[in-house]
Symmetry: C2
Subunit: 207 residues, 2 copies
DNA sequence: AGCGTTATTGAACGATCGTACAATACTATT
DNA sequence: AATAGTATTGTACGATCGTTCAATAACGCT
């Protein structure tokens, strides 16, 4: 009847270049994991979130496991980028970037209860999947290297083992985020932020 | 034919008092979760581990969720008991029990990659279950109270906020255990033990 | 315009999930 | 010895899981 109208009202081309579709599925995976945690990890839920048919997942990814690994890479990449952005923007602490990291550790773009839900799922999958384990190792290595750079800039005249300090900082933030997010009464982050601030204060004094 | 033989060879009474059967199912749950992680959380696998029929789970527990919550309570209880046992046994540090906690943090009865697999599953379930969330809060509260007592004894003349310190210690150990256990090359715990030792050293100096 | 390529769909498959339930076996009480 | 109570079994059900695949639709190229 009104083919032009039909063409206009009909959703625009539903065909995407593979890379875009892959990104869209990765994004949908992160949304599902952040919203529901482990129970959000379902091929059907992910494809529904991406408004795409079930079969498409296995067309762009050889398995769900591979999609999850890609999503793990992506959330890690965003975390890394967010850290760099905060450090670049904090003109006051250019010489002590670790101060910037600590002060933004509970900002929404760095970590949130939502995001931690996804991280916990990734950790859980790291336990029983070789591919996830390899991905986890790669991510950890990358973040640790970056953290060491940040610490080296922050403590130019210190002789402490920066790798040890980087692992400690990473472990402490992971634990604080866990405690903050899994807590029943999801309070403000003030308490946990204070703890991290005091840790940094002590660490800088003795380094 | 040989009824007496049959009676002897036949498994002995397969009927147990409810409390014992419940404990057995809880134990089987922990074994499954420590062995396989999240994929070990299956009513059928748990009952197979307990050498019991599938239907028995819902006779002694109203749901799988309730069994998992009971298992979470149990692993936490064992952890708590193991901590107390180490402190009692360490006669050298009776006045500084936090030193004992730190030095045994990577002992097999306190934490191991196996046990952490189970903890990660419990954390994961805490995200999307009200019952697990309540259990998690109760466990956290109990352990934090105990940690504060340990710290109070270790730092009698300090004016630092012991609750803050307890949360920091708990978060740090959680993060170190995670990093240690999820690491691809499951090395010895030496590196992570050193990190914890240095943390304590700095903390005691400034407290 | 026609053709080959491939992104996309949705149904179908087999596996596994948690739970319900009737049947059975054991124990304790009388 | 008979009976009541219940622990235990194993099947069955409906739901959901990840993946496969033939059919279809959209695109680029000549």
């Amino acid at each position: 009847m009104f083919p032009s109208f039909g063409a206009v009202l009909k959703k625009k081309s539903d065909r995407l270049p593979p890379n875009e579709r892959r990104s869209q599925l990765i994004e949908a995976t992160l949304i599902c994991l952040m919203r529901e945690g482990a129970s959000g990890l379902s091929s059907r839920k992910i494809c529904a979130q991406a408004q795409v048919s079930v079969g498409l997942l296995n067309h762009h990814f050889s398995s769900q496991e591979e999609l999850v690994a890609a999503a793990y890479e992506e959330i890690s990449r965003r975390y890394h980028e967010a850290l760099k952005a905060h450090i670049d923007a904090d003109t006051k602490n250019q010489n002590v970037p670790i101060k910037t990291l600590v002060s933004c550790a509970f900002e929404a773009d760095i970590m949130s209860p939502d995001q931690l839900r996804a991280w916990v799922v990734f950790w859980s999958k790291t336990i029983d999947s070789k591919l996830m384990r390899a991905t986890h190792d790669r991510i950890n290595q990358r973040l640790q290297t970056y953290l060491i750079q940040v610490l080296a800039k922050s403590l130019p005249n210190s002789n402490v083992d920066l790798q040890v300090l980087a692992i400690e900082y990473s472990a402490l933030t992971d634990g604080l985020w866990l405690d903050w997010s899994l807590n029943g009464q999801h309070q403000s982050s003030q308490l946990w932020q204070t703890i991290l601030n005091q840790w940094l204060h002590r660490t800088l004094m003795l380094a």
